[in-house]
């Protein structure tokens, strides 16, 4: 019943991420792969999952697939729309988010993230958007999942150019205990890295079919640790792909 050969990279990442949401209650997600993953999880492994959007929307029931986290279709028919002070203060910092999804330009072995600059902050080679709410998602979600479309040494770096969103190890070194475990899963086009929380490095726990451990190590900018047994990711099933293609994103807005 598998259908790997037909799964695109977006489909693969969405399906793998969706499985990691099994049994979760609340997820803080941006538009794109995280929403696809959460929506699929809602139909499969996490029937009571609620997606909370940075814009303040809780319990959205969109008539169309949203194009932004603030799309009008997310608001009409939603269960609640909160002010940003309430969303960031009471919901996120208050500790109501199980899983936060984050992206980044660079990630290091402890799951610290850079979304601010390439180069020096003062006169960067590339000015990226910055934190937005990423720093708050990292500090306050129980755990964070990162989805990276391209696993390569320019993104998986030994030293970040700038740390925008620090994991718990950096926070503890700064004298402050954060609520969350930081990044616990990194899902890439090569496989899955995982760590349990403070004090741990990301390690390779699974590769996609056909990918070797050496390939992943070569694509990682630090000396990547590997689990005692590196598994193989179960390819997307026909059922998962069917739901994703027919129910979640029938217009193929994100399933490029």
């Amino acid at each position: 019943m598998t259908a790997t050969t037909t799964a695109t990279s977006s489909e693969l990442l969405s399906v793998v991420a969706s499985r990691e949401l099994a049994g979760k209650r609340t997820v803080f997600a941006g538009i794109g792969l995280p929403t696809l993953a959460a929506s699929l999880a809602h139909l499969t492994v996490a029937p009571t999952l609620e997606i909370v959007y940075e814009s303040g929307v809780c319990g959205a029931h969109p008539s169309h697939l949203p194009e932004t986290i603030a799309d009008a279709v997310l608001i009409t028919g939603a269960e609640a729309v909160l002010s940003m002070a309430t969303l960031f203060g009471s919901v996120l910092q208050g500790g109501h988010i199980d899983v936060g999804f984050l992206g980044a330009a660079q990630i290091d072995r402890h799951g610290n993230l850079n979304s601010s600059v390439i180069g020096d902050w003062d006169r960067p080679t590339v000015r990226l958007p910055g934190s937005g709410g990423a720093m708050e998602v990292m500090a306050n979600s129980s755990e964070v999942f990162v989805v990276m479309r391209r696993h390569d040494p320019r993104s998986f770096m030994a030293e970040l150019d700038f740390c925008t969103s620090p994991g718990p190890d950096r926070a503890l070194a700064d004298g402050i205990t954060p609520r969350g475990a930081g990044v616990t899963r990194v899902i890439t086009d090569l496989g899955i890295l995982a760590r349990a929380g403070a004090g741990e490095e990301l390690q390779l726990v699974a590769v996609h079919p056909g990918v070797t451990v050496d390939q992943v190590r070569a694509a990682t900018g630090w000396d990547l640790r590997t689990a005692d047994e590196v598994g193989t990711v179960e390819p997307p099933t026909a059922a998962e792909l069917g739901l994703l293609r027919e129910d979640v994103d029938p217009g193929r807005v994100y399933l490029r």
Partner: protein, 305 residues
């Protein structure tokens, strides 16, 4: 969930229980059920400790009160509370006293998981001398005069359970309130568990037609209890008016311990639940608190064409 089950499940002896609702939507019926179930050693957190608190005290449920106003609205005194504080009669009452904004900031800090919340009151007041929870912090930024600036702070409050009354919610707990919204949302987010008592449980479509009206999303709510007229003698905007006569009467009832015991025997212990309390008041009584219609004009949330 029934009120009986909700109180049995979420309020335990020794718990810290927040009951909020500023004049409007006071969770009286929940308070009565706590009394009926004989809870003991509660710490009650409530900005305006009024009739329902006096009743909880009379029920012997409360050993400690955290509050910023201990009076029967503008209608007089709380007899049982005054006996407890002025004469330790029948037993002392531990009292942690704040101002209104101090209480609000405690809920804000609790809801936001902050170690403290700053506020521009308390300077020069005697309250910090009787409440060691009220402390000072030096700002890391210079003040207007360029000198280091101090400010008072209050600690977070995180009740074991917050109970509020609201006009309506859907089955999953998305709660809508209009009129005075008070501090209910902050009190719910500050709590470990939250019980929402409502005038009516409505269809999902009703709530979803106006998501900005939802002051508390379902993820913060652990039980929804339908209990019409459960805020009496306070009011529910658009449902029934305030029973001002009862507020005035309470000062007299509570002043006399014997009369207070009789009232409790008849109206709390003598009723099985709030439905019986409502029925006992009689339809004529409720007709006197009825309100007419003043409907909000609808707004368009828009639909993608």
């Amino acid at each position: 969930m029934t009120m009986k089950d909700a109180i049995a499940s979420f309020v335990h002896d020794g718990d810290t229980v927040s009951l909020e609702g500023f004049t409007h939507l006071i969770p009286t019926a929940a308070g009565h059920e706590i009394i009926r179930q004989g809870r003991r050693n509660l710490t009650v957190v409530r900005m305006t400790a009024d009739i329902v608190v006096d009743q909880l005290l009379a029920g012997g449920c409360v050993t400690k009160l955290v509050s910023s106003f201990v009076g029967n609205s503008s209608a007089g005194s709380l007899g049982e509370l005054r006996r407890r504080i002025e004469h330790a009669d029948p037993e002392p009452l531990a009292f942690e006293e704040y101002s209104h904004y101090g209480m609000i900031c405690r809920y804000l800090a609790g809801a936001q998981r902050l170690p403290f919340h700053p506020l521009r009151s308390y300077a020069g007041s005697d309250l910090p001398s009787v409440n060691p929870g009220i402390r000072k912090v030096t700002s890391p930024y210079p003040g207007a005069d360029g000198e280091p600036e101090q400010i008072y702070v209050v600690p977070p409050v995180n009740p074991d359970v917050t109970i509020i009354h609201a006009q309506r919610a859907d089955r999953s707990g998305n709660t809508q309130v209009w009129g005075l919204t008070g501090v209910q949302a902050e009190a719910v987010y500050a709590a470990k568990k939250a019980v929402v008592v409502v005038e009516e449980i409505v269809e999902d479509e009703v709530v979803r037609s106006d998501p900005n009206r939802t002051v508390i999303p379902s993820h913060a709510v652990h039980a929804v209890v339908a209990c019409p007229r459960g805020a009496h003698p306070s009011f529910a905007q658009g449902y029934y008016d305030r029973d001002n006569a009862f507020y005035r009467a309470w000062s007299h009832i509570s002043k006399d311990p014997a009369r207070l015991r009789e009232w409790m025997a008849e109206w709390v212990y003598g009723t099985r639940d709030h439905a019986e309390y409502v029925a006992k008041q009689g339809e004529e009584f409720w007709a006197g608190l009825a309100v007419g219609e003043a409907m909000s004009l609808p707004v368009n949330y828009g639909r993608r064409l």
